[in-house]
């Protein structure tokens, strides 16, 4: 793996834009790659990965790993995959490369968008570097190290004070058969300045086979900023994904997260929220809906670091055939975070005896005046409910679908934006 990585790294350096090939940058990348080589892909011996042995999943699904192979033609995409009749801004990644950036609905003076592939103004990049370091502190997470070392696309968005986006932003993550690399490493940074607001939909649409997609999103919310972030992985595909979100919240800011996890062979959504400002709040609502031998995980770290902060997490899973779902939810409350209100609940329907769901709730609390709770339930569909519905004329399949739809509906109802709620219902085919 090391030899392959070295060869691919040289290819990466030769193709990077000039702004990113400074000696310092290359040196840093090499350090991160060394970290990655030392650890390799995470395996079940690492506590955070005990339910999802990524190393094993990769070795049994991917024959040979090509870490980086650049070819400009890879960024073509099928226009029919763009959402119609829904006005939105776009960032389109195709096979890990930036294909298109379009913010035509917004006021140009209120936002700054930087793409490392096209940006020549190093001063601007320097300014944004101070907001988000070019490399993410890896905290011994080998996938972050890999992303730091090999990221080729890095888009940065800076939203100025008081500016509220007129239309949502859809970040399309496409892969297709034109892909040359096995591994896709991409990065997106968002800075929402004081009292600004943005809604993002991260939409996956994969047509490649057995790709490894490693995405690092860094969000920083200023005082009173609001970020609503919806992540949709609905289309069936054989890819293996790690989607890391780090959210840093200042006073009175709000981060609403919604995860719909259904399409990929494997995906781990990791959401790290640092509630650094008083009265800041974070919400994570998620659906894991699996069949076949899919394996998905949602892992959260909600860190309450100041007083009067709030977090709420609700994860509902429906597992069929021989699929596996995992939810590891951690609430951390430090000694300053008095009056914290933290809640998490996981509910799972196991439709088949070959399914597995692992829930690991963790509460780590160092303040004494807090309200924190967690709960986890799992079970099959209620036979009496099925009998009730069938006795009215519905067949078994219809009754089952109605019950599953009903089970998941209350998570969808938590989406606070009506237009996006309708769009998502339409994409994921959940009925009211």
């Amino acid at each position: 793996m090391e030899e392959q990585l070295k060869r691919n790294f040289n290819n990466l350096i030769n193709n990077l834009p000039e702004t990113d090939v400074g000696k310092e940058s290359i040196k840093a990348r090499k350090i991160y790659l060394k970290e990655f080589i030392k650890k390799g892909f995470p395996n079940k011996r690492i506590e955070d990965w005990k339910f999802s042995d990524l190393n094993q999943i990769i070795s049994s699904n991917v024959e040979e790993i090509k870490f980086f192979d650049y070819d400009q033609t890879q960024t073509k995409f099928d226009q029919s995959k763009i959402i119609k009749n829904f006005k939105h801004n776009k960032i389109i990644f195709v096979n890990g490369l930036v294909s298109k950036i379009d913010f035509s609905y917004e006021e140009k003076a209120k936002i700054e968008v930087l793409n490392n592939l096209t940006e020549e103004n190093t001063k601007k990049i320097g300014r944004l570097r101070s907001i988000h370091p070019e490399f993410t502190y890896s905290d011994e997470n080998p996938l972050i190290s890999l992303n730091n070392g090999l990221k080729f696309s890095h888009v940065k968005l800076n939203v100025k004070k008081n500016y509220k986006f007129k239309k949502p932003l859809i970040i399309y993550n496409f892969t297709n058969q034109e892909i040359n690399s096995t591994v896709v490493n991409l990065r997106f940074d968002l800075r929402l300045q004081e009292k600004s607001a943005l809604k993002i939909i991260n939409l996956f649409n994969d047509d490649s086979d057995n790709s490894i997609v490693n995405i690092n999103h860094q969000y920083r919310l200023g005082k009173g900023a609001i970020l609503k972030n919806y992540k949709i992985d609905h289309k069936e595909n054989s890819n293996i994904k790690y989607f890391y979100n780090n959210i840093d919240l200042d006073d009175d800011s709000v981060s609403e997260n919604f995860v719909f996890s259904k399409g990929s062979k494997f995906i781990k959504h990791e959401i790290n929220c640092d509630l650094r400002g008083e009265y800041s709040s974070a919400f994570v609502n998620g659906i894991i809906n699996l069949k076949n031998s899919q394996h998905h995980e949602i892992k959260t770290n909600i860190n309450h670091l100041r007083r009067d902060t709030k977090s709420y997490q609700l994860i509902k899973s429906v597992l069929d055939e021989n699929s596996k779902g995992v939810y590891q939810g951690k609430i951390f409350v430090n000694q300053h975070a008095q009056k914290t209100d933290g809640y998490q609940l996981s509910r799972t329907l196991l439709l088949n005896e070959n399914t597995e769901f692992d829930a690991k709730p963790e509460l780590e609390i160092y303040a004494d005046d807090v309200k924190c709770s967690h709960g986890s339930t799992s079970g099959n569909l209620d036979e009496n409910s099925i009998f009730y519905l069938m006795s009215r004329g519905l067949n078994y399949q219809q009754s089952r679908e109605l019950l599953i739809n009903g089970f998941l509906l209350d998570i969808i109802e938590k989406i606070t934006d009506l237009e996006i709620k309708d769009l998502i219902k339409n994409i994921i085919k959940i009925k009211e």
């Binding site: 036979e383 009730y388 069938m390 006795s391 009215r392 004329g393 109605l402 739809n405």
Partner: protein, 244 residues
């Protein structure tokens, strides 16, 4: 319409029905009364096809062997059970559920399915006729409903699905006088020469509102006495003990 011959049912090695015979003709309304544990709910479950029972005997419904039909097929052929404890189904809108159910029945008969507007017209009409508020239709099925509301909802479903043979399993239990009247008025308004009813109850009280053609006493899994409405009054006076 329905003929039950020597029906025996066993669940978890326990004999619940022990050779029950009953015939209900088109247009008739029969009441079955019996103490706790006599097999009343088992009878309604077996008639509507609930799984988990070991069954012997014969049930003929409109010249077919009922026991060969699945739960939903029985519903398609006009059998309806008003549940003793209607289930709460979170996230399922009452209107949408009822429309799917009605259309499933229509489809099985080769009739045209209704669109949302046609359906709403029918359901509103029925709700008005039964003196039931429409607002329960837009709520999640039975979720947070009071006991009385759940029973009223059963009657509304019955009225919309328009069954040939309806079984009411202790529909009167837990109802106050006003709710009892609404439920009884509902049943009475649906009675006609083409459909039949089987009313299962503990108490004679309901039969003051719904006049049965026949009353049967079910004890220990068997019908031990049958008669007219006067049998219910006798039962109320003497209690089940005297029939043992």
């Amino acid at each position: 319409m329905l003929k039950i011959e020597n029906l025996k049912a066993k669940i978890d090695e326990r004999h619940v029905l022990r050779g029950l015979n009953l015939e209900i003709k088109t247009g008739e309304l029969h009441a079955i009364m019996g103490p706790n544990g006599s097999g009343k709910s088992t009878l309604s479950n077996v008639l509507s096809g609930k799984k988990g029972y070991e069954i012997s005997g014969r049930i003929t419904y409109e010249n077919q062997n009922l026991l060969e039909l699945g739960i939903e097929e029985r519903a398609h052929k006009g059998i309806f059970l008003a549940f003793q404890y209607p289930l709460e189904i979170p996230g399922v809108n009452t209107n949408i559920f009822l429309k799917s159910a009605l259309n499933a029945i229509k489809k099985s008969k080769g009739e045209k399915e209704l669109d949302a507007i046609e359906f709403l017209k029918i359901v509103k009409e029925k709700a008005l006729k039964l003196n039931l508020g429409e607002e329960m239709l837009s709520r999640q099925l039975n979720v947070g409903f009071s006991g009385g509301e759940k029973k009223k909802n059963e009657i509304l479903q019955m009225s919309v699905l328009n069954p040939k043979f309806s079984i009411l399993d202790e529909t009167d239990s837990g109802l106050d006088i006003d709710a009892l009247r609404i439920v009884s008025d509902g049943v009475n308004s649906l009675r006609n020469k083409k459909n039949s009813f089987l009313i299962i109850t503990h108490y004679q009280r309901l039969l003051n509102y719904i006049k049965p053609d026949f009353v049967h006493v079910l004890i220990n899994g068997k019908i031990i006495k049958s008669g007219g409405p006067e049998l219910a009054i006798e039962l109320e006076k003497k209690g089940y003990e005297s029939f043992n």
